[in-house]
């Protein structure tokens, strides 16, 4: 029996085992909509930390970052900055969204927007479009799985064949695993991933260069362009870093699956504590970036697909028993987070699109439809991966250009600016997508050094403000109540504000 076969079979058996564990665990859990979508708003700081960690640190972190560092050098550090700035933004935004969600019974981002702008159609529009943008996230996890299959299979599969195996494994795991991704699976995945990341981070520099000092010295001597901006990638300079971090940090909480995490917490305090402790997770990213830099020297003179460098290094370096553990971690890093992402996408279509358009749809029908949508959505993601293979990080950067366009409607209008209207929000989002899409399709990203998505966002904000001012505002009394929920005041001030509104 070949080593490749043993490693792949062991990894897939472990996936099957954890899926069965998820089914057994899930059987004892609440089966109502709030239960499986947002865990009945009962999660404490530790579980939310793992849940967020699982959904944010995926195949993208495990394989994508090293690949982007290998291909583009220090521009990869944008990704370390993005999450931390987003956590700082989330410190205030997520508790406000939690308070509104609890008061009005919202479980999705589309519920929130439909409620704020008093527009069912805006909710349907955002649910439909964001579910489609999320396919990019499913795509990158399929590409991550494909890289595992391709490298460990030692050439038995071409890239499309490997992605196909990745797609089948992912779709089956989510279909059989039931309707919920659970936080305990997340704990197992995170522990495995931590072990694998720490081991590869220390092993690669020590094994190939003798010490970290020697490794960095070699890197600075033979590949110094990887350590400055702009360096290896001439188009990705300091202005690109500054604008990309701004865009993606605003975009992070616009992903429906992460926006939804705000609703899983049991109190605003839980979410604030997350903002404090989540940045420690970024050290995992720095470790994988370091591995990517090491790959530059190790694979010097060889042409390697960036997505494959981590698995190639593991294959070349580790004994078989550890390679099995490493492969299991890599497969989990893709499958465990992809499950909730696919489910969120499917549930947005079932709950916020289908059920909103067809009156009297039962919760049971929403459940069934959600499950039926898993396969077609994953198939679409596979189609995207096969039609446009790209570096994992590039897939995500393009997706951010689009998802970030929700920021003005969700945060500026949703929490702060009372004059924002549904017409302004819709027009702004559409213009943002058109501008970003046009720049991307004409290969003008970055444009004048600035991330294409940020040009889209600037156009979006201008149109959002102009159209909002030109259209009728949402009822003042309703909005005062809505926003007072987000930012509660001490009792005396609250009573005075209420009297003022009534007056």
């Amino acid at each position: 029996m070949s080593e490749s076969f043993v490693v792949l079979m062991a990894a897939f058996l472990a996936v099957a085992a954890i899926t069965v564990g998820g089914i057994v665990y899930g059987a004892s859990q609440s089966r109502d909509l709030e239960g499986w979508l947002i865990h009945s708003r009962l999660m404490g700081p530790i579980l939310v930390w793992f849940l967020l960690g699982t959904e944010i640190y995926t195949a993208f972190t495990f394989q994508g970052l090293a690949g982007f560092a290998y291909a583009n050098g220090s521009a990869v550090f944008y990704n370390v900055a993005l999450n931390d700035v987003a956590y700082a933004i989330g410190f205030l935004v997520l508790p406000a969204i939690w308070l509104i969600g609890k008061r009005f019974g919202y479980v999705t981002q589309a519920d929130f927007l439909a409620g704020r702008y008093r527009s069912r159609n805006l909710g349907i529009f955002v649910a439909l479009t964001s579910a489609l943008i999320m396919i990019a996230y499913i795509d990158l996890n399929i590409e991550g799985l494909g890289a595992v299959v391709q490298v460990i299979g030692k050439g038995a599969f071409n890239q499309t064949g490997a992605d196909l195996v990745g797609f089948l494994v992912l779709a089956l795991a989510v279909l059989l695993g039931g309707i919920r991704g659970n936080a305990w699976q997340a704990v197992v995945k995170d522990i495995l991933m931590f072990i694998a990341v720490v081991v590869i981070f220390f092993t690669i520099p020590l094994h190939y260069f003798g010490s970290f000092g020697n490794f960095y010295h070699n890197l600075a001597t033979h590949a110094s362009q990887y350590l400055v901006l702009p360096g290896k990638a001439k188009k990705l300079g300091p202005l690109w870093l500054i604008t990309t971090v701004a865009l993606t940090a605003m975009g992070q909480w616009m992903w429906p699956q992460w926006f939804g995490v705000a609703y899983t917490a049991k109190s605003p305090k839980t979410l604030k504590l997350e903002a404090i402790f989540m940045p420690f997770y970024q050290l995992v990213k720095v470790m994988m970036i370091t591995v990517g830099f090491a790959a530059v020297l190790i694979f010097a003179g060889t042409k390697v697909n960036g997505n494959n460098v981590v698995m190639l290094l593991a294959l070349r370096t580790f004994p078989e028993w550890f390679l099995i553990l490493f492969t299991i971690a890599a497969v989990f890093a893709a499958i465990v987070p992809a499950g909730p992402i696919i489910m969120t996408s499917a549930s947005l279509l079932a709950k916020n699109v289908y059920a909103a358009l067809v009156p009297n749809t039962s919760e049971r029908t929403v459940y069934r439809l959600t499950k039926w949508l898993v396969f077609p959505l994953t198939l679409l993601a596979f189609g995207l991966a096969a039609a446009a293979p790209a570096l994992i990080v590039v897939v995500l950067l393009v997706a951010y250009d689009f998802i970030s366009q929700l920021f003005p409607a969700v945060v500026i209008g949703g929490l702060f600016w009372r004059r924002a209207t549904k017409e302004g929000a819709t027009a702004g989002i559409l213009v943002g997508w058109v501008v970003s899409g046009a720049l991307l399709l004409t290969k003008h990203d970055p444009f004048l050094g600035v991330n294409a998505g940020l040009w889209g966002l600037l156009a979006n904000v201008l149109v959002f403000v102009a159209v909002s001012l030109a259209t009728p505002a949402v009822d003042r009394g309703y909005l005062e109540d809505f926003l007072r929920t987000a930012f509660p005041q001490p009792k005396a001030m609250a009573v005075a504000a209420e009297q003022q509104v009534e007056g």
């Binding site: 370390v80 600075a220 300091p238 870093l241 903002a275 420690f280 929920t485 005041q489």
Partner: protein
């Protein structure tokens, strides 16, 4: 609430500046190394360790100026 929002905005800009401003202004070169690391690697290793402290300060400030926000279901405080 106004003080809490200003404190939050200031923190967001501080974290943002540390990552993109400080790194491009003062750490965008190859050598000399800092603590045995290339400057940009050193900086992007240090800031994730410093950021929790900055956010913890914001948390402490927020609790002082905005205590009603801590309570669950606090719309009816």
């Amino acid at each position: 609430m106004r003080a809490a929002i200003w404190g939050w905005l200031l923190t967001v800009f501080l974290v943002y500046f540390l990552y993109v401003g400080a790194s491009t202004l003062w750490f965008n070169y190859v050598s000399p190394f800092i603590l045995g690391m290339p400057p940009i690697v050193f900086w992007f290793t240090l800031v994730p360790i410093v950021a929790p402290g900055i956010l913890a300060l914001l948390y402490w400030y927020d609790r002082r100026v905005n205590p009603q926000w801590e309570k669950e279901g606090s719309w009816d405080v």
